[in-house]
Amino acid sequence: MRDVESIFEEMRNAIPAGPVRIKEAVDAGRKIVGCYCAYTPYEVIRAAGAIPVTLCSTSATPIAAGEEHLPRNLCPLIKSSYGFALTDTCPYFHFCSVVVGETTCDGKKKMYELLNRLRPTHVMQLPQTYADGASIALWKAEIERLARRLETELGVTVTESDLKREIAKRNEERRVMEDFYALSALNPAPLSGLELNLVNEFFKVSFGDEKALELIRELTALLCDNYKGGERRIGAKKRVIVTGCPTGKSLEKVFNAIEENGGTIVAFENCGGIKPNYEMVDETLPPYDALAKKYLGIPCSCMSPNDKRLNLLERLVTDYEADGVVDIILQACHTYNVETFLVRERVKVPYIAVETDYYQSDAEQLATRMGAFIEMMG
């Protein structure tokens, strides 16, 4: 029987080994489709027999290269994504035959025009509102168009039964993550935010592998049993929900600043966490309708209005007994930055927005900000 620490260790080791597994898959004849965003319907890519992988976008290293073609005052995520591709330093990009992007924000959709010159990039036209029927119809057509493009690129046929199978499988993955996230609603939390983040990162490179999923299930069960048995891994700390822009390696400086100064992160609302996983694809609807409805419902700040994010955050604050909310804003991400005003009004607990980038130069200032924020909670 493995213990919690050894499961974390196994996950920690699996993350840098991800590229090797993808290379092996390619050697075995599998096709890789590169993705950046939570709006990409993995189910369609998998139904086309390919493996959807998240491409590198969270390191400061390739930003300078990205800035050779892109303006400096653009969000670091976009510059990093493009810089990785340009310098061929992302192994996942190296192995992918097609990239799927979406017209989420202005910076991304224009960057994809340049990316297309490095690798065939299929851009899905994402409507910017989830509330009306016309938008859902357009998004459904875009998902169908993606399927046709993949059929052509990969020389396969995407059938309805393939889609249904993959929908059920991806839903199960979402349920596993939901169950895992629910653990942190316990007070005190049974695991730290850094550990929570580790599992999110591990999930990202699980590539639909049943064994990886089983490891997360095992971890959830173990943490739950130990907790019931009286084990308390985390002491009394201020409970923080992290929200805002996509996170990743370079933003762990913010998580550290929170957790080294008396806080503990109980939930990541970001798109690497709860945001894309809290709603399922309806398995009773025809597959394309169900996918359109689910994916367009993701409450990213590129949507207008974006009431669902505010509602979700309000619910999470209650469910996770949060003492405060930290909104991470990447420099030049206008949509999340503007939305901070509404989030602050809605969350009803101490709130702070931190604007940062991928460089580590503000680590000390972040420590002061997060420290003061946690002191403020009393």
């Binding site: 101490p350 604007e355 130069s361 503000d362 000390e364 200032q365 002061t368 900000r369 420290g371 003061a372 002191e375 403020m376 009393g378």
Partner: protein, 260 residues
Amino acid sequence: MYTIGVDIGSVAVKVVLLKDGEWLDGLLAPTGWSPKDSGALAISAILGKNGLTRGQVARVTATGYGRNSVECDDRVTEITCHARGAKRLFGSGGVRFVLDIGGQDSKAIALDEKGNVSDFLMNDKCAAGTGRFLQNMAVMLGCELEDFSSLPSDAEPHAISSMCTVFAESEIVGLLSQGVDKQAIMLGILDSVASRAEGMLRRVGFSAIRGVGGVAFTGGASRSRNLAELIEKRLTVPLHTCEKSQYAGALGAAEIGRNR
């Protein structure tokens, strides 16, 4: 009971000694390149000056950017300490906002009715609107930092639109070549700091009505009379400063130590 608060800023170390909560002494020294050494030195200086040993002091509380480098009993961020210090210095008048402009950062703090921090904002990565900005401008104009405190109050500031130190420098080069009066430029520089400070205060909820009790102005830049006047003009409420304003962080730290 003796308590010490030490505020290790980017430019100066401030140390305050309290006896049973009453102000006994305060010292100020340059931080230099080693916050660890200058912090320790300031603590031993104030001890020596008052004939005390470290063992006689119940708690030493450190704050400021160098708080993690010095040996102490507690570490508290400068936000909390400045709020506490400002409450102590100016609290009787119902002060609900604190503006602190130090060497490398500036902050606006909102207080609740009990004087606890309810919201705050710090300048981001750059030094715009801080003491460092004024220092660079002084070098540019061939004057001393102190000269920013002795300008005629009735002179009209010349508008400086750049907040960034580098851009402001080139803007000033242009103004000097046009023959704009140096004092008007100096006031313009201060007014650009004042405008930034006003913006930060408004973002944490300041308005003339909510701030009717006045705003406490702390940190090294609060020593500039001209800057205080310009900020006050913008806020239209009283801006409180006193000779101990620069010690607000250290005083707050010493107070917090007393209550631990």
